[in-house]
């Protein structure tokens, strides 16, 4: 618990109504999408970098942990206040500061919801491609801190490919700028790249300069149903092998399809045991041809049915299927261990087969969906931890899946970060010298271990 004295100081910085020690608020900022709970001692809603700087200086002086938080939609517990302290909620910093149509950049505050920025730039004929499935509620700050990816990564890359510069409050309370507004820039170390994906452990992001693209003239969305997961996996290989890079190539396995049936008006027959959502964008004549070629390429691979969206509403209906996937999983079993491994694209069928073998061997359901186009699979190990032995089995499955992933040249997190849930497995992927290198950076920048302690590495 924080002393009253500290609370007074915080009130002095942000104003009385922007800090709370009430149980209701402590509870409401104790969770994220991992569903684990750790209550902060207080919740603070600052409104600008200056306030955040003062808060961090105070925290350093008093030894109070500070946990940056956007929308709390993270899947690895990045925002969880596992050592109490302050939940630093950044949603009041929610201004789109400017959209520069000439230089194709946008400057935003971190609390802006991703979809809001997309809407604003699209109204001007511009495009911000990163589109995590949480885009309607997650924040750009959270996206940058996690280096969020999304279905469009196959063609357009992930968040880091769009961040040109940042304003950051350092763990010790200085306000610095990294990168800038230019497409190029090589003065000094690339701190921008270091901070993107740093999961709120190296600084609090208070401004973001993002690169924009021209909005593609048209897009075409297709939903292809296959009678087996193998067919879908081969289809991915066939499309890429046919030298077409679609905007998206999302897949879902049979159990996933069963989970989302209720959330869509689309007909998803029982015979469909895998789905690919394929989207192409660009010049309308070109995408018509591309779509045709794609359908021709995948057709021999056990296609049950194909659904080509005729307009943007139908396309949205297809995407709704995809977006409702991860939260619907719980229908299979009450507890879900959600991993987001990534393997080289060509190893995807092999990886899926391995996961199925592990699922069979341990007799626990494993549901797979994800971004097939970039080899990123969301592996959901579904168990009921109330039943004895199940949690142990889930852990074993995770370890075996990670081991297989690494053997195929992959990584154990494609986009959700490490946070707390994956911290124990870091030594499987990174060698000790690399971990020491990373820890040295953290130690140099945050000597008192104030900012988001307990994340990424097991002990800081």
């Amino acid at each position: 618990m924080l002393e009253n004295r500290i609370i007074r100081i915080i009130e002095g910085i942000v104003g009385e109504q922007h800090v709370s020690t009430a149980d209701t608020d402590r509870l409401c900022y104790s969770y994220d999408a991992t569903q684990r709970q750790h209550r902060p001692d207080a919740v603070v809603w600052p409104s600008n970098a200056k306030e955040i700087s003062l808060l961090l200086k105070m925290a350093n002086a008093e030894g109070i942990p500070v946990y940056p938080r956007g929308a709390g939609s993270g899947f690895t517990g990045g925002s969880l206040p596992i050592h109490g302290g302050l939940a630093l909620v950044l949603t009041r910093l929610d201004a789109i500061l400017r959209i520069d149509e000439e230089n194709l950049i946008a400057e935003v505050e971190p609390g802006v919801v991703t979809r809001q920025l997309q809407k604003a730039v699209e109204a001007l004929g511009l495009f911000y491609p990163p589109d995590p499935a949480s885009l309607k509620f997650s924040t750009l700050g959270g996206n940058v801190a996690e280096c969020a990816g999304g279905p469009r990564c196959v063609k357009y890359g992930v968040t880091k490919d769009y961040v040109l510069g940042l304003e950051v409050v350092t763990p010790q309370g200085d306000i610095i700028r990294t990168g800038g507004e230019t497409m190029k820039g090589v003065v000094g170390y690339d701190l921008t790249k270091l901070l993107v994906g740093s999961e709120g452990t190296l600084g609090v992001i208070t401004k973001i300069i993002l690169k924009l693209l021209p909005l593609p003239a048209a897009k075409k969305t297709m939903l292809v149903l296959f009678d087996s997961i193998d067919g879908a996996a081969q289809a991915v290989a066939a499309i890429i092998g046919g030298k077409i890079i679609p905007t998206t190539l999302e897949f879902m396995d049979g159990t996933t399809i069963d989970c989302v049936r209720r959330n869509t008006d689309l007909e998803l027959p029982q015979a469909a045991r895998a789905v690919l959502i394929i989207e192409v964008d660009g010049d309308s004549a070109l995408i018509e041809k591309q779509a045709e070629t794609i359908l021709k390429l995948v057709n021999p691979l056990g296609v049950v049915n194909t659904w080509v969206a005729a307009n943007s509403e139908e396309s949205e209906a297809i995407w709704q299927v995809r977006r409702s996937v991860s939260p619907s999983m719980r229908k299979v079993n009450p507890d879900k261990f959600n991993e987001d491994i990534c393997v080289p694209r060509s190893r995807l069928p092999e990886m899926i087969r391995t996961i199925e073998a592990i699922s069979d061997k341990l007799q626990i359901p494993i549901v797979n969906f994800g971004h097939a186009g970039d080899g990123n699979i969301h592996v959901n190990i579904m168990v009921d931890t109330a039943e004895p032995g199940q949690e142990q089995k889930a852990k074993q499955a995770i370890e075996e899946i990670f081991a297989a992933t690494l053997k195929l040249g992959g990584t154990m997190s494609g986009e959700h970060g490490v946070g707390v849930t994956k911290a124990p497995y870091i030594p499987m992927e990174l060698d000790p010298a690399a971990v020491a290198y990373m820890k040295a950076i953290k130690k140099a920048l945050d000597p008192n271990n104030i900012l988001n302690p307990g994340k990424i590495f097991l002990q800081d």
Binding site: T24, L27, S73, S134, N263, P327, R330, K331, K336
Partner: protein, 424 residues
């Protein structure tokens, strides 16, 4: 005395609360969260708090009541929630729990106790009209007399409709004969139609007459109970339900029609929890727009003569109708009217911001939501915004007045009634 409360308790929702996976999808849809931005008001936070309340991890203190009061009961979260957590019902159960543990006043006792006693309402309505002349400041409006309430629990600036000269139920006999071979329809008037917007009831009668229906307006009916439920007062809601069960059961109507989206939800969704008799009654309840469309009023309307001057009308869909899957019937009726021109409005499904007592407790937030709505009406270019819920009408009109806009809010049935009248 042990009072009757047949509603579900918070504990009955334990399993549904466990369905919340804390994904945060509701953050994109909860209108209150959209305005206030704090986790304690979004569905995910409310479920967490309800859970903690149930497990006695948190005190039912005023702050907790405050957070639970911040729900419009719009059901947007439920519709968008990937695991269909019934957050709106959980909030009501939490309010009942808090009231049971702490007493009621927090969620608006005054209104509930009033609505529980129809006789008192009649009396008050009479004297209020007399007092109005002295007490209320009159606000000149093109739409007629509108009042500013001096009562402390209602914001002074809010514009409210004038009380009806004669409540709707007093104007008509209990039975109005139609064609003998046609069904008997019982009319559930609801408080707002009875006391504030009798013209909606008149429109309904014209429409039902046009189809030859026999109409019963049971004398002893009362409030649907939704305001009481919203106030966490399960006992009053149960008493009102019992009263309506008696009043309507006696007449054995073929169907019971509601003129208000909220009454419809009160008599269907909420009745279903109360036991088999209530469930049977709930099954006969139908929204007036739905009934008229299914019984072919569209054809009748289409055959009316075309008007030369057609006002532009846009539609607002009440949350309670949308949640019952009834957003189409009002639009169909309007589309069939040869007396108006239907125009589109942005975000026609967005909540108007009333939320029953919500707008009394949280007028500022309510007003911000209303302002967005008023702006959408303006941008649509419509002269009138029609809807199917008297509560929405009150809020929409207030929002239009606050924005100094000339547009008027009305019920679909008023327009239907007017069109039918011109024919006769």
């Amino acid at each position: 005395m042990k009072r009757l409360d047949r509603h579900k308790t918070l504990a009955d929702y334990r399993q549904q609360m466990d369905q919340c996976v804390k994904c945060g999808v509701c953050r994109a849809h909860c209108p209150v969260f959209g305005e206030e931005g704090r986790e304690a008001v979004v569905a995910r936070g409310k479920v967490t708090l309800a859970h903690a309340l149930l497990n006695k991890e948190i005190e039912p203190d005023p702050l907790l009541s405050e957070n639970f009061s911040k729900c419009l009961q719009c059901g947007k979260c439920v519709r968008r929630c990937p695991t269909q957590v019934p957050v709106d019902d959980i909030v009501l159960a939490a309010r009942r729990e808090i009231v049971a543990r702490r007493g009621q006043s927090l969620f608006g006792r005054s209104l509930t106790s009033l609505l529980r006693r129809p006789r008192l309402m009649h009396l008050l309505a009479g004297s209020a009209r007399r007092a109005a002349r002295l007490l209320f400041r009159r606000v000149p409006q093109k739409s007629g007399l509108r009042l500013r309430f001096p009562a402390p629990f209602i914001d002074r600036q809010r514009s409210l409709p004038a009380l009806a000269k004669r409540p709707f139920r007093r104007r008509h006999p209990e039975f109005i004969a139609g064609q003998p071979d046609q069904p008997i329809i019982a009319l559930f008037t609801g408080c707002m139609v009875n006391y504030l917007y009798p013209e909606i009831g008149e429109g309904a009668l014209k429409a039902l007459a046009a189809l030859g229906f026999n109409v019963i307006i049971p004398k002893d009916q009362g409030c649907c109970g939704l305001p009481a439920l919203s106030a966490g007062d399960g006992t009053s809601a149960s008493e009102l339900a019992a009263r309506n069960l008696r009043a309507f059961g006696e007449h054995q109507p073929d169907q019971i029609v509601t003129l208000c989206a909220s009454c419809h939800s009160g008599l269907t969704h909420h009745f279903k929890d109360l036991g088999p008799d209530y469930e049977a009654l709930a099954e006969r309840v139908v929204d007036i727009n739905d009934l008229l469309v299914s019984q072919g009023l569209e054809e009748v309307l289409q055959q009316l003569p075309q008007a030369t001057q057609k006002p532009k009308v846009t539609v607002h869909t009440p949350c309670h109708l949308r949640n019952s899957g009834l957003d189409e019937p009002p639009k169909k009726l309007l589309a069939a009217l040869p007396t108006i021109e239907l125009v589109k409005m942005n975000k026609a499904n967005a909540c108007c911001g009333l939320g029953g007592t919500f707008s009394v407790h949280h007028y500022q937030t309510s007003r911000q939501l209303g302002a967005a709505k008023a702006n959408a009406v303006k941008e649509s270019g419509a002269d009138l915004v029609a809807t199917a819920c008297p509560g929405c009408i009150m809020q929409l009109q207030d929002s239009l007045d606050q924005a100094d806009l000339p547009q008027r809010a009305c019920h679909v049935l008023e327009l239907v009634g007017e069109a039918l009248e011109e024919k006769s």
